[in-house]
Amino acid sequence: MKLIVKTSLHYLWLSLSILLATGAIFYLVLRDNISSEIREQLELQVDMISQEVEKGHQVIFPLVELKELSAKTIAPSVFKDTLIYDHLQDEHEGYYYLSETKIINNKPYNIKVMTTYIGWNEYLKTISLIFLGLTFLLVTAGIVVNYFISKNIWRPFLNNLSILKEHSVQARTDLALEKSDIDEFEQLNAVLHEYADRNRKEYTGLQEFTENASHELQTPISIIRARLEGMSQLPLTNEAVNYVSDAKQALDRLSKVNKGLLLLAKLTHDNFPDQQALPVSAILTGQIVQLEELFESRGLKLQQDIQKISVKASPHLFDILIANFLSNILKHANREGFVAIVLDSDKLNFTNEGEPLPFAEKELFARFKKNHQPSAGVGLGLSIINQICLVHKWRVTYQYTGGRHNFTVWFNNN
């Protein structure tokens, strides 16, 4: 639930209960005051009537009953409400009456005077309506005020939220949060800055560690390779040949993983000053031609729609990007399957028929995520692709529809 909705709801309930309570009190107090005013008025009337009777005047008024009593008992005065038929309006209306027993000229009289109730129901309705209107106005005003507050006061907060959403620990730029004149938000910003800095330091540290470790491994790998190649030149028994050959294969793999990790580490923090307007179509076609017979030997039906365009990119990285995509297709496309490569000024797209992913789609670009076929590579290709796209601020998307894997690099990030 949004904060504004939550506060508005609280505000609504609070205003409703306050207004209900004040409405009820208002109604009760009003009724009490008016009742006592009416009673005073009726008492005055009774008194005036009794004066008239004392003077011997005939008292005939509407809404006045005067009765001479036989017994000299003085009943206590009664102040009550009653219903009287109103023949003009054709309905019963509420009235107050005051009935009092008085001894006038030594004779007991019962005087009953009435006055109209002035429709308490109407009062109630009017008061309720007014209060409801008041509630409505207060709530609307509250929401409007809240809305403007949120637009202005919350705006930096919401902007920062979207900045944070976009921010990655791999980003090369500092976290730039919008300033606010509200202390709590400024505190939050300070904490976030510190948090992002710390994360980045740890991340960079990890990358440096990977890079140094991979770098240190390169020389021993070179030595082992040199020695294995040296051994290959010697006359060996078949048994020894198998040992050396297995060792070479494993070393190739190790060397591949190591190079991949080194490249990934470099991609996260190196600058690539060789970025330039690159004839990407030529590079792409060139690499496809290089691999022609590999496509043929797998019976892949390759469809190309490559437009002559150039894109600002690092030639070194673009080569690797294309090689990884093509390698991926050669590894995972179904034999005799359909393959399409499309390049235009917006995008670079690779489609190939293949089995669905054996893991969740979102893990596709993760390191060492691969299916466990013997032909599978070292599992770094797609993370390298992803990282190269990040360096160039391109977006890479993946879809699997109709039995076809579809990778697209979007050159314009929007």
Binding site: Q218, T219, Q233, V241, F272, L326
Partner: protein, 224 residues
Amino acid sequence: MKILFVEDEPVLMEEMTVYFSSQGYVCEQATTFFQSLGKVETYAYDIAVLDVKLPDGSGLDLIPLILNKSPETGIIILTANNSLNDKLEGLNSGADDYLTKPFYVEELSARVNAIYRRKTLKTSENLKFADFMIDPQLKELYYKDEEIQLTKKEYQLLMYFVVNKNRVVSKSAIAEHIWGDNFDQADNFDAVYVHLTNLRKKLNQAAQHDYIKTVYGMGYKFSC
């Protein structure tokens, strides 16, 4: 041909010098920046193979000194660090080529030869073996003045074998030479086999001799 190797790792140094000596090159060694300084200031080399990271300096700093002494020297940089900056810096300061460790010594040999032919010999000198002749300029193969049609990859393969003759070369090394090291070589072994079979057949048809031998479990060996 005279080559200077600057490399601080003794095993790699041994591997390179033993191999290049066996191919008939004159090899000079230096293991530190300081030692290299003395050599490059005194002698002119056809090719210099420089490790970037030396215990007492950077191999890249040797490039201007070498070119100052003999501008014709071909320079190849070796780096353990697959860093673009090293590569750009090296190529900008006058290096001709760049190899990342771990590399195959056969690949280094192919690169050294290519640079040597391009820079030092300048004019295209044809390569000969048995009764065959390779014109590196036109990328053509002749047997007793008769041209043998080769595909681009067969030609690459033949050149690789010729500069690495009498050496057992592995399928990975061949695949890396032809397709570069961005690909998983295991994918390309079939293709290596296909090109190799075709090349073998063409040479065999012309000369009635099998120059390329399969070495069980290891790869192939070209001899003539």
